[in-house]
């Protein structure tokens, strides 16, 4: 424990503090948007957007190193790619009535393939560290800078304000799109808004857990919270708290066990979900045996 406190306060290890700050900041957005994603059942769309992020990061890195755009932060590329993917996926879901999932998987693999090719072509100038695609795929908290922190804070705020302002309409569109449309709410616009907010959110934690694993933190805390929450807002609050706890616990554990942070955080989340499911099943069986009413 004292070892952890030392590490957190040691000015030589800013990355650990930064990772925890980012985790805590992003958890709020993950709780809110993760709940919408889980309740609307668009996890696979969120996952597709996360994978497309690699294309954006690759393009940004390529432009930065090979074409002299030194101002271009890779996260900007990530956000542009995620938003583009969100719009593509939204339009696909409107127009490709059948085989929607097939077409969406094209966006998914296209983004990843493009990203890897871009990263392969990018040549960092002397003095810069070599590009490690794995660090984007699975996260690398050593790469987190103060710039990342600032960007994440701003986008976090944007996502939360938008979700709060349009909360009831987004909830209505998630619950019953057709009825919302009859009440004069442009359902498709709000669905696109939901996808775009999800895209922005996903990128917030790409640095910590990587694009392949980030969907776990979108869905698992919300799914855990959904087991007990009675209202959408309760589920959001609980999911945010759970997400913060999982990221904090995972990052600290990774420091302690000297493992990569992303997979550690995600394994912790999976373990938590498995435990909750087991406890829930045992509880139901117990109630059944006693002949009491069975909660859902």
């Amino acid at each position: 424990m004292s070892e952890l406190i030392e590490a957190l306060t040691d000015p030589a290890f800013p990355f650990l503090r930064n990772a925890l700050f980012i985790g805590l900041l992003a958890s709020a957005a993950f709780g809110v948007l993760g709940t919408f994603v889980v309740a609307r059942r668009i996890t696979y769309m969120a996952d597709a957007m996360a994978h497309c992020v690699l294309g954006g990061i690759g393009a940004a890195v390529l432009l930065r190193y090979n074409y002299g755009c030194s101002w271009l932060h890779p996260l900007w590329g990530a956000w542009v790619a995620a938003l583009t993917a969100a719009l593509c996926i939204g339009l696909i879901s409107f127009f490709a009535q059948e085989r929607e999932d097939t077409v969406i998987s094209l966006v998914w693999v296209g983004g990843v393939a493009l990203g890897l090719l871009f990263l392969e072509r990018a040549h960092p100038p002397p003095g810069e560290p070599a590009i490690e695609p794995l660090s984007y795929l699975f996260g690398d908290i050593l790469l987190i800078t103060r710039d990342d922190l600032r960007l994440v804070a701003i986008l976090d705020l944007v996502v939360l304000v938008a979700a709060a302002v349009f909360y009831n309409k987004l909830a209505a569109v998630c619950f019953d799109e057709e009825f919302a449309a009859l009440r004069g709410i442009p359902s498709k616009v709000y669905f696109l808004l939901l996808l775009c907010l999800t895209a922005l959110t996903i990128v917030l934690l790409v640095r910590v857990v990587g694009i392949l694993l980030v969907v776990a933190l979108t869905t698992l805390p919300a799914a855990l919270a959904g087991r007990v929450a009675r209202h959408l807002w309760q589920m959001m609050l609980l999911a945010a708290v759970l997400c913060a706890a999982l990221v904090t616990g995972g990052v600290l554990a990774s420091y302690h066990f000297e493992t990569r942070a992303g997979p550690t955080v995600v394994l912790l989340a999976v373990a938590a979900y498995g435990a909750a499911a087991a406890v829930g099943a045992a509880y139901r069986r117990l109630r059944l045996r006693r002949g009491g009413p069975v909660a859902r």
Binding site: N168, A172, D176, F179, A181, L182, R183, I185, L232
Partner: protein, 277 residues
């Protein structure tokens, strides 16, 4: 089958709304409406008028076009030929004046939402900046409580929607439709999940609501319809109308054509339902 072919009108039926029961301009007007999915026509040459404060039942065999008729009325579908006018304008523009209870809501069974929150959704899309953002006022909450009380669900208003029985959910969805303060209430199969006791309660509720608004009820349940209806509209590709009074077998047979088994089945199911209660 040309557009100008006159719709067949058996002796026992009149041309829709020859009754002239209500004054003023019609709330809903179908003028020679044709609709089909792909090549297959679902509705042919439909003429129909619903006046303010009428209570209309829509019956017909499965696949006969009942739901398509409702979706045209709501402006969710556009007619291929002809015109649908609601409150004097195109159907789509008037959807906010209609309270709609769908037969099914394809919602996630784990969606964490209370009965009250579902009812409140009927208050969306009103004028004013708060409503434009989708924020509910104290007045909205009061209206939602009143609507839940009107369908007898006020005691369950804080219950999760997913934990309610099928019939209770339907009543909450009726409350949501009432929250729209509609001029026309459209209910798609309100008796599908409702036991016989609830059915008579629903019956009384609809009668009471009919003092304030026009009501269109889609139903399979011929017993329910023949007790309730002021007008009965049968949809089976074409639309024919039967006037109020109990439905005799002859009229039912005429409406459903040769598919008498469908009718028998409906009745058998409703009797069985009674016995179960």
């Amino acid at each position: 089958m040309s557009e100008s072919s006159p719709s067949h009108t058996p002796d026992s039926f009149s041309v829709p709304n020859a009754s002239g029961a209500s004054e003023g301009r019609p709330l809903v007007e179908f003028d020679r409406v044709w609709f089909g999915y792909g090549e297959r026509p679902v509705l042919e040459d439909v003429c129909l008028r619903i006046m303010p404060r009428q209570l209309v039942c829509v019956i017909g065999p499965n696949g006969g076009g009942k739901t398509t008729l409702i979706r045209l009325l709501l402006g969710l579908l556009q007619p291929q030929r002809g015109q649908v006018r609601v409150m004097g304008g195109p159907a789509r523009a008037a959807s906010r004046a209609i309270g709609y209870m769908p037969q099914h809501v394809r919602f996630d069974p784990l969606f964490p939402i209370s009965a009250m929150e579902v009812a409140l959704m009927g208050r969306l899309g009103r004028r004013g900046w708060r409503s434009r953002l989708g924020w509910y006022s104290r007045d909205d909450r009061k209206k939602a409580r009143d609507a839940l009380a009107a369908v007898g669900m006020i005691d369950q208003s804080d219950e999760p929607f997913a934990s309610l029985s099928g019939g209770q959910r339907q009543r909450v969805l009726i409350a949501r439709a009432l929250c729209c303060e509609p001029e026309l209430l459209v209910l798609d199969e309100p008796t599908a999940n409702v036991d016989s006791m609830m059915e008579s309660q629903l019956f009384a509720t609809l009668r009471a609501l009919n003092d304030r608004m026009a009501v269109v009820v889609v139903s399979h349940d011929l017993g329910f319809v023949s007790n309730l209806a002021e007008r009965v509209i049968c949809v089976n590709r074409r639309v024919v109308e039967h006037h109020s009074g109990p439905l005799d077998d002859e009229a039912v047979q005429a409406m459903y054509g040769s598919s008498m088994r469908v009718v028998d089945h409906c009745r058998a199911v409703s009797h069985e339902g009674c016995r179960h209660e």
